[in-house]
């Protein structure tokens, strides 16, 4: 089966920044992404959990995008513009997709 090389970008970011990030991705021409809820975790800023949050202040979400390799740079520029001073993790991995025209 024919597959095509792509980049998978996973951004873990504060829930309060989700809309800003997805808007920046839209502006950068990244039309496809998936937002996933995150149950909890721990990092340099301490522990956080989705459970028992009275506000969205401490929650995190995962935004996953798969793009063609040549579209990676504008995507990362857009993401970093939003992350800047905020808590978050960005990681990029190589992946293969079946239908290249969709990315």
């Amino acid at each position: 089966m024919q597959t095509h090389k792509a980049k998978r970008v996973e951004i873990t970011i504060e829930a309060v920044m989700e809309r800003r990030l997805t808007e920046a991705l839209d502006d950068a021409g990244v039309a496809g992404y998936t937002v996933l809820p995150v149950l909890g975790g721990s990092g340099r800023s301490g522990k956080w959990s989705r459970e028992g949050q009275v506000s969205r202040a401490s929650g995190m979400v995962n935004v996953v995008c798969i793009v063609r390799p040549e579209r990676l740079a504008p995507l990362l520029d857009a993401a970093l513009g939003i992350l800047d001073r905020h808590i978050g993790v960005v990681n990029v991995t190589d992946c293969d997709v079946l239908r290249a025209e969709r990315f």
Partner: protein
Amino acid sequence: MFACQGYCVGREMDGILALAAENLISPIILFFALGFAAAFARSELSVPEAIAKGMSLYLLLAIGFKGGVSVADHGVDATLVLSLVAGVILSFALPFVAFALLRVLTGLSIVDAAAVAAHYGSISIVTFVAATSVLTSAGMESEGYMVAVAAAMEAPAILSALWLVARAGGGVGTRDSSMGGGLLREILLNGSIVLLIGAFAIGAVTGQEGLTEIEAFIVAPFKGVLCLFLLDMGLVAGRGLRESRGLLRPGLFAFGILMPLAGAGFGLLAGLMLGLSTGGVVLMMTLSASASYIAVPAAMRVALPEAKPAIYLTLALGITFPFNLTLGIPIYMAVARAVTGS
């Protein structure tokens, strides 16, 4: 005369203690205490997120609607507008008091102190709801439009905190105009405010007739839902305090108790100047004494991400909220009664 002064002060103290004791054994406080204790004991007890959100929507709808009905019954007067203005001024001003107190009592950085200050200028709607419930139990009337005052006090404190940081040369997210516009819109159109004001407006338009239609939904179950919601709040506050108690130096702890008392003092002055009823004065004191843990933390994460959420959330939710709920509200009631002579 001195004997009388001693007698009167003693009687006042007895009154406060009696009110506090009565408040402490009310179901809403005991459910809060249950949640708090369960969290400290590391119990697995938890309220599903969706149910907690549903209950908070219910409480906002009920309190907003009932406030609106009260305004429909009593009509709109100049005091309503003046109370709104007073609420906005208090919300703008209280962060400066909190900031000064924090700089004296704690070694917090300017950014952390400003973020904490924003929480204490804004309000806790759950504390407000609890205070209205205590007033109802005590048979004390209050102005229905205090709900609108609560909504008006949510946001101005955030601007004061950002100004405090900007003045000190700190980074503020609002320097980015798109983020600033977005942030302001998010604050002003915060879901809680929209529902509270919307329900208030619907209550004011439909009046007693509207209340009769939905009374079975928003009046009778109110206290039961509040109990369950406060159980969840107890769990959240207890967990937060358990995880962050290492942060709580004596100065911060003292601030968490002193600032609500100072805020209540300003609320008392405003209530008296406005000529509010005793119940209204209690609510103005409660609003000024309470600290936000819903709208402001989210705004601070966007605008002041360098500020440590563990500090402001622990103070607002782990110290000030339980204090207001257990001792603060009875103190404000006793003081308001003593001052207004009712």
